[in-house]
Amino acid sequence: MAINTPKQTSHLKREILVRLIKSFLSDNFEENTRLIPYDMRPKGHEVPYRCCIYKERAILRDRTVAGLGFSIEETEDSTLLSDLAKKAIERKEPEENPLTVLTTACKGCVPSRIYVTDLCQGCVARPCVNTCKFGAISIQNGKSVIDPAKCKNCGMCAQVCPYQAIQKIIVPCENACPVGAIAKGEDGHAQIDFSKCISCGKCVSACPFGAVHEKSQIIDVLKNIKAGKKVIAMIAPAMMGQLPCTPKQLKEAIQKLGFADVYEVAQGADVTSKTEAAEFVERLEDGAEFMTTSCCAGYNELVEKHIPEMKPFRSDTKTPMYYTAEIVKKEKPEAVTVFFSPCVAKRREALQNPNVDYVLNYEEVGAWFIALNIQVAECGESEFKTEASAEARNYCVTGGVAKAVQTLLPEEIPAHPVIIDGLNKQSIRDLKKYAKNGMCDLGNLIEVMACTGGCLGGNATVNAFKPALKQVTTYVNESESLKDSIKAEK
């Protein structure tokens, strides 16, 4: 699948966020939130997607529930959005599991199965019948017919059909999930098994109905700013490629939202690079065959939940978000910290880190700019207090983390990087194999990114991949190399 393909569902999700922010900033948050579905589909409005205007409104109402930060599954249909808005204001902490499924939107999918289409020619060779190990295919009236009771959905028949007449009908979320954590329940609705879910966000991107939502923390952040707290933005490297402006303009734009200061998470990435390079040397000197990186939250959750045998090989170095939040809280203990994230996985990581108070994704930040009508390209430039290195600013591009570590290694202990560019069933099998064998025949430094392309391919990014990469690369090329800055320190 192409990275960051344009989707009408993103348009809907973002529109709701803009309206929510507007309504928070209005003089009647609760009532204006209740009206969101009616403002979006007023009487007589066309019905672009569903059977009728009532269903459209019902679904928009559920999307607003997620925007308010609540679980759609656990919210009664009869609860008014105005009551939920009030509850969101009173809430002290964000909810635990970061994803929620909008079941009303999800009903359209048929269960995953193998299907013989009209293209079946009833050929003489009958490779489908001969290939099926389960005896599920027979010929009736000159055409192949699958017995659903015997079919195991293996898809072998679809592969061998000379006419490509047999198709595997997929459920996009199930197909995208690399760990089998989302599946249609008996009632036909997708359900997430949070004991398996690694929060990689692939189902969010894959669902053509936009049924999987992140539970937003936008209200929590707005509330803290309104209360006059010192709210600090920590922006991950991928953010620099998201909007049509320079990083310094972006900083000023974020301050216009009400943030007291903005830190680059690349600052923490420099700590990660140095720590991880030292750790790599130590591990290899102790005889280890390989080490994996540890900065991707989706990968870390994969190791915890599905490949515990990888733990001894995964770096103990903390993530850039961890170090950045530590720096901020040390400098400003009273600060409320908000991590600006390209993906849902960082929400899970933030929940486990007391130094990170909230997470906003790039869609939410973009919606906030729209709500306040801030033209980022017209903002002035504001300097970052601490400059980060070129390598750190390149963390969001696949291969960037391994490259940063490599830069800092002594000549006698060279790294041979292996890049896992996106988690999928195959790359997870590979990782399991490396962990089981205690070695990787392709190299000794394995960088793992849950998203294809790196963080720039995250589920909550705004910019298309190519222009985002171009923007980040320009910034990286303007920055000083980590090696040079270390030399200067000495």
Partner: protein, 87 residues
């Protein structure tokens, strides 16, 4: 030979977030397809989103003087083809 068709992709913040980020590819693909008959540029905010708070219809693209709402790559290409056919 009549004048070039001018395509302006709004790259204001609202349009960008609501989808013109994905229209940037037009800046490369259109000249490749139509040669010098069409010019495409990304422009700062066209001001269309602030009329009547019409952000929900963003992204906007202007093909000559015609405004395309909720623009997609397909819609823009169709508008260009229609303009070319009318000439």
């Amino acid at each position: 030979m009549s004048e070039k068709i001018s395509v302006k992709v709004c790259l204001g913040t609202t349009c960008f977030v609501m989808g013109s980020a994905n229209l940037q590819e037009l800046i490369e693909t259109v000249p490749a397809k139509y040669g010098d008959k069409v010019s495409v540029i990304g422009v700062p905010c066209l001001g269309l989103c602030s009329i009547d708070w019409e952000f929900s219809k963003a992204p906007y693209v202007k093909v000559d003087d015609d405004v395309i709402k909720e623009a997609t790559v397909e819609k823009v290409l169709k508008a260009i083809d229609e303009k070319l056919a009318a000439k």
